[in-house]
């Protein structure tokens, strides 16, 4: 698979430690690539470079093998963009905005625009200025997806959406991905990246920390199991004798969290069979836990 998006040693220094420094990654065709980071860590700046809005101080970036600064027009024929800050041109209603946008992009299929709007339960006739945050976001999403772009650059696409609509968005992203679209999205909601992204880039204060592959998350890293005991004795005895690592103890609730990878499952069940258990719960190893582990506790060394 060729690289659809390539960022090479790209630096943009805004001074006072702000900006992005020496970013270097690429996204393959048909891949969904997530960017995670705290506010102000450089997610939006990265996307703006890919859109050709900003000029890097050094390094370069390209989309579909075309330089983001020089061949912006060519690139834009194949890109759908949801900006981080949403504000629309002063053209009245959502319908007329989408109509003009379709003209810009040369989109003939008006039915699909309507389908997208219906999917999000969006009333496009509402005046743009009166729209709620969620409605604006939906309008922006319709505008970005309506041309079936080959590359989607989404800057926190689920901002302002309710949980149901967030699921709709995830479905939409997955269906575009199934049709071969390359997706790069930034987010600080881990769930949507858990559901969509193949790889996730972690950034912190403009520094690229780590790129995590989803399969790596699922297989290599241990999963968390929460075990609840019936008596204090069982609880104490388990903690004393176990060969597994106890991540978290809670005497009041009589439960503990055990971290075990797939090879340790036998040991876990063997140990459990000796006690009176109230329950066992599986807590999937999510990006969120990874994030907490790696960045807040500094558990894993940064790449």
């Amino acid at each position: 698979m060729p690289d659809m998006i390539k960022v090479s040693n790209m630096t943009k220094d805004y001074g006072e430690g702000k900006g992005i420094f020496d970013f270097d990654f690429s996204v393959k065709q048909g891949e969904c690539f997530g960017i995670v980071g705290t506010n102000g860590s450089g997610k939006t700046t990265t996307l703006r470079h890919l859109m050709g809005f900003l000029k890097p101080d050094s390094g370069s970036c390209s989309v579909m093998g075309l330089d983001c600064l020089k061949d912006t027009k060519e690139i834009m024929k194949n890109v759908g963009y949801v900006p981080g800050e949403i504000d629309f041109p002063d053209v009245g209603s959502g319908t007329s905005f989408l109509k003009i946008q379709a003209e810009f992009l040369g989109v003939k299929d008006k039915e699909y625009i309507k389908k997208l709007a219906d999917m999000f339960g969006l009333d496009t006739d509402a005046p743009l200025k009166r729209m709620s945050k969620g409605m604006k976001q939906k309008t922006a999403l319709v505008a970005a997806f309506m041309a079936h772009p080959k590359v989607l650059l989404l800057d926190e696409p689920s901002t302002g959406l309710d949980p149901l609509m967030r699921d709709t968005l995830i479905e939409l992203i997955l269906s575009e991905k199934a049709h071969g679209a390359t997706i790069l999205m930034s987010s600080h909601i881990f769930k949507e990246l858990d559901d969509t992204a193949d790889r996730v880039l972690f950034i912190e204060n403009g520094i690229q920390k780590d790129i995590v592959t989803k399969s790596e998350l699922c297989d290599e890293l241990p999963s968390l199991y929460r075990l609840g005991f019936k008596s204090d004795d069982d609880y104490d005895s388990f903690i004393r004798k176990t060969h597994l690592s106890v991540e978290h103890e809670s005497r009041g609730n009589l439960h503990i969290d055990i971290a075990a990878d797939s090879s340790q499952l036998g040991i876990l069940f063997g140990e459990m069979s000796r006690y009176d258990m109230r329950y066992m719960k599986f807590k999937p190893f999510t990006l969120e836990r990874y994030y907490t582990e790696v960045f807040e506790k500094g558990g894993r060394k940064s790449a």
């Binding site: 900006p83 003009i100 810009f104």
Partner: protein, 252 residues
């Protein structure tokens, strides 16, 4: 070079401002040329001040809206996220700005021609005591052309600031100062012409000096040569605005 959807969008989002300024200016012209009380002041007040003040306000607000405000608010992202080059954006917006002024003065000229045909006036009545004959249709068109050229220069300078700055604050601030100084200096210079000692020096402070209805009414050719300067200013300013807008970082 020209993006039709963007042109449509610009017409749509600026129609109210354009419509009201054109309406007010045309109505004032009709009033000044038809009512006996005001007819004599058609040139000193209407063509002397209104034809620069009203379009001045229009270009100040509109040129800011065409670039800087859209960058500031972020809505420019939707235009540039389509296969539309930045140069196409500036060209289209400048095209809109110039042509909206042409349309504005076109309507004004037509209205004045109609009024003048219905109720002709002699140059003497207009305050030009030494001149013989009526105000002709040709003169009306020439005066408007001269005013239009100066307004295009005003528009170009505002457009330049709009292209240079990504923040409305600076774009409106500098454009406003420029328009304000231009119009104010023009008015002071006019008082200088009417006999107030020393004030005529203000004519060196403003582009409006190149708008010369006296030369038209006296049948001279000076107004034509004077159009070269605002035309040159307009070309340079539009060019600079476009150049900076093409190169700069856009926070979209």
């Amino acid at each position: 070079m020209l993006s039709l959807p963007l042109l449509k969008q610009s017409i749509k989002s600026n129609s109210v401002m354009w419509g009201s300024m054109t309406g007010v200016m045309t109505l004032l012209c009709v009033q000044f040329s038809m009512l006996d009380m005001t007819r004599s002041m058609l040139f000193t007040i209407f063509y002397g001040m209104m034809t620069t003040i009203l379009p001045g306000i229009y270009v100040l607000v509109t040129s800011n809206k065409l670039l800087a405000s859209q960058v500031d608010r972020g809505s420019m992202a939707y235009v540039l996220a389509t296969p539309t080059k930045r140069t196409t954006v500036t060209f289209t917006q400048a095209f809109y700005l110039v042509n909206s002024l042409i349309a504005m003065f076109g309507i004004l000229t037509l209205a004045h021609l109609a009024c003048n045909a219905a109720k002709p006036i002699t140059l003497g009545e207009l305050g030009f005591m030494g001149l013989q004959g009526d105000l002709t249709s040709k003169m009306i068109m020439q005066v408007n052309l001269s005013a239009l050229m100066v307004c295009i220069a005003l528009a170009a300078v505002c457009f330049m600031f709009s292209g240079i700055f990504s923040s409305t604050k600076y774009s409106i601030g500098l454009s406003g100062t420029f328009i304000g100084v231009s119009i104010l200096a023009n008015m002071l210079a006019m008082f200088g012409n009417l006999g107030v000692e020393g004030l005529d020096k203000f004519k060196y402070l403003t582009v409006c000096t190149f708008y010369d209805y006296n030369s038209v009414l006296t049948g001279g050719n000076e107004w034509i040569t004077k159009m070269i300067f605002p035309a040159a200013i307009a070309l340079v300013a539009f060019g600079l605005g476009e150049l900076v807008f093409k190169k700069k970082d856009l926070p979209l």
